[in-house]
Amino acid sequence: MASKNGDIPRIGVYVCHCGTNIGGQVNVPEVVAFARTLPNVVVAREYKYMCSDPGQMLIKEDIQKLNINRVVVASCSPHLHEHTFRKATLEGGRNPFLFHMANIREHVSWVTQDPEKATEKAKAIVEAAVYRIQFHEPLESKHVPVHPDVLIVGGGIAGITAALTLADAGKTVYLIERESSIGGHMAKFDKTFPTLDCASCILTPKMTTVKDHPNIHLMTYAEVLEVDGYVGNFRVKVKKKPRYVIEDRCIGCYVCIEHCVYKTPKHPSEFDEGIGLRKPIYIPFPQAVPLVAVIDPETCIEFKSGRCPKKCQKACREIVGRDAIDFTQKEEILEIQVGAVIIATGFQIFDPSRIPEYGYGRYPNVYTSLEVERLVNASGPTGGAIVLRDGRKPQSVAIIHCVGSRDRNYNPWCSRVCCMYSLKLAHLVRERTGAEVYNCYIDMRTPGKGYEEFYEKLLHEGVHFIRGKVAEVTDWTINPEEAGKLVIRVEDSLIGVVRRIPVDMVILSVGLEPRSDAEELRRLFHISCSAEGWFLERHPKLAPVSTYTDGVYIAGACQGPKDIPDAVAQAGAAAGEVLSLVDRGVIELEPNIAVIDARRCSGCHVCIALCPFSAIAFHAEENVARINEALCKGCGVCVGACPSRAISQQLFKDEQILAEIEGLLMVD
């Protein structure tokens, strides 16, 4: 039978063993023998690894020697290797779209326990592919230019790193940060493990470089509102929240803050995790970038009552002469156009009040690790003094690991950073207070360069290590030594006894969680989340910073718990991916667009309202609808509705889909 474009299909079928991944479960020789019986199959072969060079070579040789003009590879998911084999088909001398992939690994061998059933299912999928490929036609891919600018969402260490890498390469970068300053979680830390570098010593220079870089447009106190378009051509709407201080005029001199009607700070500082206080007008921390004050309308008297003497405004106007404070500032919506996006929105910490037996929120001397980071930080609210809420210096401190992590009741995953930061805090607390420090851990996990050595060092610093999951933190005391203290009840599983350890301070090493609004962001950018809520990478090993949405990349802890070195490495990787995309300048679009056959179109208007991208318009003079190829994203919704069968979708034509269904059902 001759296919539509006139040639007689000569099909080559290549079944991959994928080592034992497929071959271990599917009887590959049987599938190959079966494939040989299928119509128009000229050759069917098996190979250990089809994706390898010799595997691809088989295809190219068969095209040239046996005049194969249709290629079916039965191996893994098309999401993994479709591109590889299309390329091989092209290099063999055929149009790359005369190829189809049968997924017999992800959809068969890896999910089917009975080898016989797996083999039958693989046959069905191969038969479907053979039926389908008869209806494939040569297609031309369209190329569209890539806008060279880049959007980075999130100004933590990952976002900053990516921004600087790209800006240094000459790209224009829009860096969007929700808070009033960039810096993210890292800015809150005092020291970083395992080298005990001062966090702000290594971060602050990068922050100021961001601010001064001519290629970086920094937008703080801003959020992404809408995303439109596709790889190479995204249109993004950004909302700039009003900070009530004009950014260009403010010089960060603190005079307004000094003159606020609140003589002393009364409101918990978000940056200090509530350990320190701030005024309604404030600069979150001294190294903030941009160093610009911000007014919190929730606590500012002017916003609450409208009857504030507005001393801050007066001071700015009269003392500083800048007149930077503007109570009438409104939110601004900006629209930017970029070719690629890096999402680096980070994580949030686990809320330990969800575990009431640890007493967080009930016992004042139970802290989260992040609160203690602010306590030990030299620029924190206590100037680095580790003191209890009543000002006393703790004599004994317990650090509870895995709070909210590795726990089926809360988060099942290991948060990866807690062991190391707990060791760091243990070291700092011991060093600064001389207190007895008890680390209660489940397992000590210190894989990383210099990490195990750091643990080893701590073991010799007189820090106590107790292997056991803490049952509770209680103020129930049973003897005088415990009086006035918090008691940790923990089974020490190395000596097999339940211990009661009275301490002054408890540090909960809280785990990392996806941000609560990750879901909204995910929808904005059309990317996926894993079941846990972390942004999903395209491939866990081979494409760790790519997503299934072309042109959108992820970096840092928004993809999963990560320490600073890993977040920075990922940021670099994401920047590299973006550079490779942007510098290519053009992208090849999958030619799976919908096409209207004007001779068949009856002009019935049904398709027009259905197109989500407004790509279809009616042409009255010819009484037909027309698709704007540049706008069509290839969803096929119009094809599924066209009553005249005038619209077809390339690569997903009805004939192809029906043939595939038919083929799938031929094997019992």
Binding site: P356, E357, G359, R362, E472, T474, D475, W476, I478
Partner: protein
């Protein structure tokens, strides 16, 4: 919504004041409640350890009767509550148990389809179905100034009961707050009261009783509020004994939360079984400011 009330043996015996006050509270809140017709032992106590199958079948009989009438069961006794829930779960999850229980029920002319009958604790009903706001509205004699030590016991929260936290429950706290009480926060809410150990391993049992009494005393409690007949009995009856063993004097009234509720909702004293306690409870109400 109408409920079946499943008293179990305790509420007809040592826990008589629990029954009295519970009925008074439900009457005061206009909650229709009827004793489960022809109920039998829940199968707790020794039965469960002697012959689990028979014990489960006995418990299931109560479920079957309730299901016939399509009503939820309120099981105030913690042991009944736990055993009935356990029975329901076993029937649902283990085919062989389900089979033998259904066979047994069949011989009694009964059948049991599934888990349409919900086993409810009075706290659950009060918090979830009635609501704290409603109760707060109905309070006629607020218990302002009464310092109450809420004690939940070990059974009603484990395994997860769906209406309260397993290690740090708060449903009773919330209720007591609504009555005006000063609720004492403490970490022993679900610690063991000594349970049946007071009769078998007396020393251990007494120590557990002592821990609770001491903590309640230390925290300045006017009363301990319980929801379990065994907890109530252990903590009430052994105060003198504990006093001797640990040379520390105790006289803390141990009340059912329903007695405090009933009082606040305006039920008559005589309907609350207030006289049926070893440590007198009248003085608790004298603490009202």
């Amino acid at each position: 919504m109408a409920y079946f009330y499943y008293p179990g043996c305790s509420l007809k015996g040592t826990g008589a004041s629990y029954e009295k006050s519970l009925l008074a509270v439900f009457a005061a809140l206009d909650i229709p409640m009827q004793e489960l017709p022809d109920w039998n032992c829940c199968g707790a106590t020794s039965y469960m350890s002697i012959d689990e199958k028979v014990a489960l079948a006995m418990a299931a009989r109560n479920l079957a009767i309730a299901e016939e009438n399509g009503r939820d069961i309120i099981a105030p006794c913690s042991a009944c509550y736990m055993v009935l829930r356990k029975t329901q779960k076993y029937i649902k999850e283990y085919a062989h148990i389900r089979e033998s229980i259904l066979t047994a029920l069949k011989q009694a002319g009964l059948t049991y389809r599934g888990d349409s009958v919900r086993i409810r604790h009075p706290l659950d009903v009060l918090i979830t179905d009635v609501g704290v706001d409603e109760i707060r509205k109905r309070v006629r004699r607020p218990l302002n100034g009464v310092r109450v030590f809420p004690y939940y016991g070990c059974l009603i929260v484990r395994p997860k009961n769906g209406f309260d936290h397993a290690t740090y429950p708060t449903s009773m706290d919330v209720l007591l707050e609504a009555l005006g009480c000063e609720v004492i926060d403490h970490p022993l809410k679900t610690k063991c009261c000594g349970g049946s150990l007071t009769g078998t391993l007396e020393e251990v049992g007494m120590r557990l009783v002592y821990i609770l009494l001491k903590e309640a005393k230390k925290r300045g409690s006017h009363a301990i509020a319980t929801v379990c007949p065994l907890c109530q009995f252990n903590l009430d009856a052994y105060q003198e004994k504990v006093q001797k063993m640990y040379s520390e004097s105790f006289a803390i009234p141990v009340m059912y939360v329903t007695q405090l509720l009933g009082y606040a909702l305006g039920a008559q004293h005589t309907h609350l079984g207030l006289e049926q306690h070893i440590i007198p409870v009248q003085e608790v109400f004298e603490m009202v400011r």
